[in-house]
Symmetry: C7
């Protein structure tokens, strides 16, 4: 089973946030602070969305930062995904 | 009796969410968490909606994920349907 | 006396909702749950509404489902009508 | 003194709502329920309102139903008027 | 010192509301109910406001009714003015 | 150091409001009531802002009245400035 | 690792606000008042954003003032960044 997003929607999967201190100690992501980094799993076709032409600028596999309060959590076969609009993706992490 | 949606509206019927754990045990959908998966029962003709041309991109029979807070519940002959706008459908489950 | 709706407005009259169970027993509509089915009594001429061209797609006599929180209740000669915009009509019941 | 409405505004004067029961008994309008029927006293010239061309479709003397929560009450020489936008007029009573 | 309004703004000065009863007794304006009548002191040039062309249709010296919750009170040399947008002026009192 | 506003933004500096009574007594501005008069320190270039062409109509040095709830206070080298959009400037004081 | 902003987004890094009194004493930025000055770390490509053409007018390295309530805080490798839309940048500090 897979999710095929419509329009300008993008399917994301959260990356477990690990915090690396300056001295190099890795602190695994606490559950309290929701990580904002996610990997792109699927990208919608774009096209006319709400009367406006949208061109998709992100690709499957990229790690991105998305807007904290955006998106819908979806559970499929024991995995949790987040579906956001491309405009809720703030930046690509390279 | 059947529902014929207008404009960019889509008639959905919720799919009882079953959770399959990784080890393969199937847990039937609890009633507490509203399943977001639904099957498409009928699709409106699209056309000009709120001054914008809308082309319908979903088809009867598809299983879709829709936005949690969208749609209107409708009861017809002992069955419950949800009517949403196509833009409230986030992804198709294939 | 009759109501002649303006623009994209439609005059509805609620249909007393009867629930038919699968075994065929008819339970008359309770007053608690507001029925969402209504019959179309009059249809406005459409035209330019809020700067956008609207074509009327519903007809007098059709039974329709309309959005729960939409419309204005109007009492005229001891009868109650609901006036909604066409965009608040979700589907036609055939 | 008279009120000359601007743009798409319409000056209304409430009609004291009388309820006529089916058997023909006339119950004068109670003060509790604000009547929604009003007579048109003056009609603005229409034209470009908020960047959109508006054509006036109502006339002085018509009895109309207007949206419950719309309009501004104005007192002039001991009379109360309501000024609404034409789009807040739902239907003409004929 | 004088106020020169920008765009579609209009400078008003409230008219002390006097209530004339039908029998002709004049009751001076109480302070409790904010009078909605005002005289136009200055009119902006109009032009493109928020991307839309606005033509000014009111003139200095006219008495107008303006929307209750609109406008900004401004004190200048011991006088109080209200600055509103032309669209907040509902009607001219003639 | 100086502030160079972007787009349709304008940098203002509040003018200490002095109240002159009719008899000529000058009462210095109390701190309780935020003065709405300000002097223009810098004017943005205008251009396309939020998809709309904006032409700047105010000039450095003018004293203006601006909307009470608009703008962002900015401290720079011990001075406080307010940055507003041109559309939040209601009138020029001449 | 670096942040590559999308569309009209800009990556900022707050400048520790130091307050210099008129007599020249430097008071390091207190943590209570969130500094509004930030340095531009990365600038998105602009282009069509929400159906409107946006041209980027800011450059990497500039110190800017941004709107208090705008932007999303992002932590990456022990550093905190703020991602804002260009329209939330009020002025450049020169």
């Amino acid at each position: 089973m897979k999710l095929v997003p419509l329009g300008d929607r993008v399917v994301l999967k959260q990356v477990a946030a690990e915090t690396t201190t300056k001295s190099g100690i890795v602190i695994p992501g606490s559950e309290k602070e929701k990580p904002q980094q996610a990997q792109i799993i699927a990208v919608g076709p774009g096209g006319v969305v709400d009367g406006k032409e949208v061109t998709m600028q992100v690709k499957v596999g990229q790690t991105v930062i998305y807007s904290k309060y955006a998106g819908t959590e979806v559970k499929l076969e024991d995995e949790t995904y987040i579906i956001v609009k491309q405009s809720d993706i703030l930046a690509i992490v390279e």
